[in-house]
Symmetry: C2
Subunit: 318 residues, 2 copies
């Protein structure tokens, strides 16, 4: 195996799934009668909140790591992130016995920092600007020879995230629709590819907060646009699409729906209280879209990807 | 079938399990590597937070309901409760197509009241004293002919709760220990009976908050004693043992451990953050005991009953 340099094929995703199997959980699919009744649809929730590090990010990061040749891998993995991707890179490195170098803004929550350090990563602090993150990362990479793993704009990462929808399609027969939240677009891109390759009749929909609607606007206007604010509780979705993910979504995504902050919070509360599972606000965005668009989803069998469960219990939105 | 009038036998519990199967979920058993490492034991969590109505109470209430003869059942089911038992009686009645009459203190949380009404129960409010609850219930029973289902001091309820440990013993081989929280003792009694009948070598332990240690003191002194306060976050465990449950636990329980409020909160936080599932504070009491008693649990395969997941998101202890 080697790093992917072009759009992942069906064979690439199958090989990825085999390669990362020792590093990930095959997460369960849960259903909830009460939510089905509200949505008048059959929803199948793929629980990546139960994934290692508590989020789907483990799939993409571990694929990028296993595809490195041994001499590169030994020098280590690097990224800049204060979130789930940092933990995924750190754990992938730990499981493969190589170093991880994570650049984190100095105001990153102590809990996230501690979790990443808990996986044995070496953390370098920097100012909380994109420029500082990138220059600090470049310096770390230059000093260590570690390989930078981008959180989403990377074919290895996209192929890794694609294995989530692949499992869901294997575990639930007769799905009509797959739906996932859109942040940087890595998960959504992988989801559209798995739908195309493994279940060609299944539609792939995205869901995005109104407050950070860069993907919605980019797709409607046919050019890569940026968010003008980051003011959403769905903190995993504040990033903009990258060139690779935008290109895939332009060709493969069937539609994308926007939801308000109140709708996200209401959907999050529903999943917490009815399903008794802990999900991040970002995960609630697809259910919010389903409840908002009854004409699209009514009577359909819908695979919903719940992306992660890492929340700060001391700062809950309830 | 008919109501049980003496200690449930092995055959009674087996018949109960068959009879209530259409009315309950067979809940999953989850494991967590991180918590196993902390406990240096193999823990198998039986997730009754995913049970119908969000708690194991559905098992006992539904058994009491299905064992009534048809003429009695038609007159309805009654209880006084503001918690999970009320919802379990209400849903059992709904599923069996008979009325439910629930006496609730007027200060019961609006959410609990709404949930119980959502199952179609008729609610009668009363003052928040045990005397008012009991006299109001007597009146409701006299007027309607409904049958009172006690939340724990009832052999049908105990046999129903016993099916939880029965499933856990069927689903996990080679357990050394079962542990459950002790409130009124219905679940704990059923758990000891299932251990005795279905896995005679398996020890059954109880766990109780220090603040409401009536079961601990009753068992140590050999007489039924009451709680002197109800000052615990484990709000499902404030009740005292009944005569039937005390009698069973005196003969069958291998030991009982006490834990502090801080230990309960810490164990609850661990389950929320590491397992990404929502449990009530009462559910955290057994894990708190396991972490507090490493000499007892180290190296053992332990079945832990997570009793329920109904929490008020607006009043979390974090």
């Amino acid at each position: 195996m080697q790093p992917l340099t072009s759009l992942p094929t069906r064979t690439d995703i199958e090989a990825t799934h085999l390669a990362i199997q020792p590093l990930i959980h095959r997460t369960p699919v849960l259903t909830c009668t009460a939510i089905n009744e509200m949505a008048r649809a059959e929803l199948f929730f793929k629980c990546e909140n139960f994934q290692k590090v508590g989020a789907f990010k483990m799939r993409g990061a571990s694929n990028a790591a296993v595809r490195l040749d041994e001499s590169d891998r030994k020098k280590g993995l690097a990224t800049h992130s204060s979130g789930n991707h940092a933990q995924a890179v750190a754990l992938s490195a730990k499981l493969l016995g190589v170093p991880a170098y994570i650049v984190m803004p100095e105001n990153a929550p102590a809990a996230k920092r501690a979790a990443t350090e808990g996986y044995g990563a070496r953390i370098t602090s920097c100012e909380n600007t994109l420029a500082a993150r990138e220059s600090t990362l470049q310096q770390v990479v230059a000093e260590t020879g570690a390989t930078f793993i981008h959180p989403y704009n990377d074919y290895d990462v996209i192929a890794g995230q694609a294995t989530c929808a692949k499992e869901l399609l294997e575990d639930v027969e007769g799905l009509d629709i797959l739906i996932a939240p859109v942040g940087g677009g890595g998960l959504m891109s992988g989801t559209t590819l798995s739908a195309r390759y493994f279940a060609p009749g299944v539609k792939a929909f995205g869901a995005e907060p109104e407050a950070v609607d860069d993907a919605y606007r980019s797709l409607k206007h046919g050019q890569l646009l940026s968010n003008t604010s980051i003011d959403t509780i769905a903190d995993g979705l504040r990033t903009n699409l990258g060139e690779k993910t935008f290109d895939i979504l332009q060709r493969e995504l069937d539609d994308i729906f926007l939801v308000s902050e109140a709708e996200i919070l209401e959907a999050m509360r529903l999943i917490w209280t009815r399903m008794k599972i802990i999900i991040e606000p970002s995960c609630a965005v697809p259910l919010a879209a389903i409840l908002k668009q009854p004409d699209v989803f009514r009577g359909q069998r819908v695979g919903v990807i719940l992306t992660g469960g890492n929340v700060d219990l001391d700062k809950l939105p309830f």
